[in-house]
Every structure is written in structure tokens, then in C-alpha cells.
Amino acid sequence: MRRVALGAAVLLTALLLQGALLSRLPGPPDLLLVVVVAFARAEGSGSGAVTGFAAGLLVDLSADHELGRVALAYAVAGHVAGLAQRRERSPLLPLVAAGAAAAVAVTAYALQGFLLGDPRTTVGAWLPAVAATVGWCVVLAVAVVPLVASLVRRLDP
């Protein structure tokens, strides 16, 4: 119960910051995706997928595309980001996971667009979108992954 409350609080804070501040920057950076990656690194693939699904639905509700598209993209991204937990603890591993998760999320979204006939998700638009999302996700992960990890530890010592 407390874990759900923590997840909801962090996601809603990220959503407000995203809309009020980050979405104006070029790219734009995707703070919710970074939060999903952070929960996946702290708790594993299962938690990453569930957090991703919930975060994606929040995004979908205020977006102009079909409901469930970002939910699917974030869920897959959260699952991917939570993999390779038991490897040796390299400080770079969370950043690699963040980059991989971002690339997977954008690609999943673009593939759905292809299936749905979305005129925006073209091959030409895919590469710049991957580059921008991966870049920002890795940069933001440096701060957000340790922050969420400490929140999760505090909740469940």
C-alpha cells in the first residue's frame, strides 16, 4: 500500500514537472520514462513494467494519440530497464539500462504508429526521436535513479 502511494506520488510530481517545465525544452526530455527506469533499477523488471504501464496511462490520458500506446511503450521499457540486476554492480549499468529502455520505448511507440497508420511515426522521424529520448534519459537518470533508489530504501529498509 505504501509502495503504491510512493509510486503515485513520484509519478504525479514527475508529470507536473514534465508539463510545466521539461516539455518546453528541445527534445523534449521525458521525465516519466526516467522515473520508470529508476523504479525498475531499484526493484526489478516486474515493478518496472507495472510502474511503466501506470505512468504510460497517465501520459496517454492527456495526449492526442490512442489510449494505451505510451502505456505499452513504458511497460516494455520498464521491463528492459529492470533486466541485468544480478550482474556486477557497475556504476554505468543504470545508465546503459536507461538508454536501452528509452530506445525500446520509442521503437515500440513507432511500431504501434506504423500498425495504426499514424502519419507522424515515419522512419525518418524515428531516428531523431530515439537520439533525443535516449540522450535526455541517460542525462536525467544520473540524478533520478539514485533519488528513487533512496526513496524505495527508506520505505522498505
Binding site: 510545466a20 516539455s23 518546453r24 492527456s62 500506446r69 511507440y109 507522424r120 531523431p128
Partner: protein, 263 residues
């Protein structure tokens, strides 16, 4: 195997939602409205706490300036020609439309695909789907998703955008389409277009006629092709959009103009 099972269920749920929503019918409109009512004001509060919201009077004045500048740019040397064409094409006079000022709050589409922006005006301000959005330089786009407090604007360069437009000099009617970063303007065989020509919207039942769209920068005329395509650079600087105006009342009369038949 076990580890993948929750993911599979979630994917199935997401795909089901997408399929249901893609079928149309607006079954999720209620949920979307509730979400916007909950999030929209909170986002506006955070935005103004971060010192990004202008004074409402300033916003209204800037919207007024935007509207007047748009009107001015239509007049000048082109006034006589425009009036004549307007009368000919039975367009309603591009008079004063009620305009709601709105602040661009950020990008509107996921992962930066497409060209949309979110604005802080919604159905409570009189905004409806398909309305014209403009600023001081000309056409910005059209509203696509409208919540009670926020809306999404499809910019004129988005691949999903298209609108009727005519050349200021020739008066030829064609179709302006978004092309990612610029616009393309297609006109049927026999229509003449040259570099430097300006484009104005022709208008429809919800779209305002006579709004400056952009200027032709190059023409691709392939011999034997039915359609001549021109590349158009928008008048509006889409990278630095700030305050825009949403025209909340459709033009009166029947300004819909049929495409001219090829000769």
C-alpha cells in the same frame, strides 16, 4: 518464463485499450476529461509558481496584437486583390473573430514525434476541436484534442495537418500539407506557382479564411504530373511559439470553396 508473465498481461491490456480507442466513438472521452480537470489546474499552478505565466491582461493584449497584426499583414498592397478574391470566392470577410489568448505550455506528442504543442486553454474557455490557432505572424495550426483546461494544437508542419490555401497573387486554390519541418502546397495541373508567392487559408466551416500561411521557397514541377508541388516556409516561427490566439467562433456563411477543375 515466470518473470515475463506480468509484462504479457500488461501488454495485452495496453493493446486492448489502443484497439478500443482506435475504433473511435469517444468511449474514453469521459476519463480524459476527468484527467484533464485533475491535472490541468495543478499544472497551471506549478507553471505559474515557476514564474512562467504572464499577467492575464498582458496575455489578452498580446493576443489582440497578434490578431491585429494578422489582419494588417493581410491588407497593404494585397488588400484590393484580397477583397476582390474574397468577393469572387464568396468568402466571408476576414473581419474580427473572437479570439481566446492561450499560452503554449510545451510539446504535445509523445517522444517528440510530429509537431504539436499543448496550450493552457480548453473547453471552459470556449475552445473546440478543429478551431484555427494563429499568432502575430500568421497561421499556427488547429486544435485537435480539447480538454476542459488544456488543449493540443496540431501545428501546420505536422504530417497530419492539411488545409485549403490559395496564392495571394494568382488566387489559385490548393492544399497545404504538413511535411515534418515545412509545408508542401499542392495544386492541380494548370495552376501556376512561383517562388516568393504568399499563401492564405481558404477557410472551411470551422477554419478561418484569409490567415497568412507562408511563402513559397521552391517549386517541384515534374513534367506530366497532375499535381504541382511547392515547398512553403511558414510565416510563424514555430520554434519560439509563446502566446497564441484560438479563434473560437467559426466564420459565418458558407466559405467552403471547391477546388478548381483541371483545364
Amino acid at each position: 518464463m515466470r518473470r515475463g508473465r506480468p509484462l504479457l498481461l500488461l501488454l495485452l491490456a495496453a493493446l486492448t485499450l489502443t484497439a478500443l480507442d482506435a475504433r473511435g466513438g469517444g468511449g474514453f472521452d469521459g476519463v480524459r476529461r476527468v484527467a484533464d480537470t485533475a491535472i490541468g489546474p495543478a499544472q497551471a499552478a506549478v507553471s505559474s509558481a515557476l514564474g512562467r505565466d504572464p499577467d492575464p491582461d498582458v496575455a489578452a493584449l498580446e493576443a489582440e496584437i497578434a490578431r491585429l497584426t494578422a489582419e494588417l499583414s493581410r491588407s497593404g498592397g494585397l488588400q484590393r486583390r484580397v477583397t476582390e478574391l474574397d468577393r469572387l470566392l464568396r468568402l466571408t470577410r476576414a473581419g474580427s473573430y473572437p479570439t481566446v489568448p492561450a499560452q503554449v505550455t510545451g510539446a504535445g506528442s509523445a517522444f517528440g514525434f510530429g509537431a504539436t504543442v499543448a496550450i493552457d486553454a480548453g473547453s471552459r474557455d470556449g475552445v473546440r476541436e478543429g478551431q484555427t490557432v494563429l499568432d502575430g505572424d500568421g497561421l499556427v495550426g488547429r486544435t485537435v484534442r480539447v480538454g476542459p483546461y488544456t488543449s493540443t494544437v496540431l501545428l501546420l508542419t505536422d504530417p497530419g495537418f492539411s488545409a485549403g490555401a490559395r496564392l495571394t497573387r494568382e488566387g489559385t486554390v490548393g492544399l497545404a500539407r504538413g511535411d515534418g519541418r515545412l509545408l508542401t502546397y499542392e495544386l492541380v495541373e494548370g495552376g501556376r506557382v512561383s517562388v516568393g508567392d504568399g499563401l492564405l487559408t481558404t477557410g472551411s466551416d470551422t477554419f478561418v479564411p484569409g490567415v497568412p500561411v507562408g511563402r513559397v521557397t521552391s517549386v517541384r514541377a515534374e513534367p506530366g504530373a497532375l499535381v504541382t508541388t511547392a515547398v512553403v516556409e511558414p510565416f510563424v516561427d514555430l520554434a519560439s511559439l509563446d502566446l497564441v490566439g484560438v479563434v473560437t467562433e467559426p466564420p459565418r456563411g458558407t466559405p467552403r470553396v471547391p477546388l478548381p477543375l483541371p483545364r
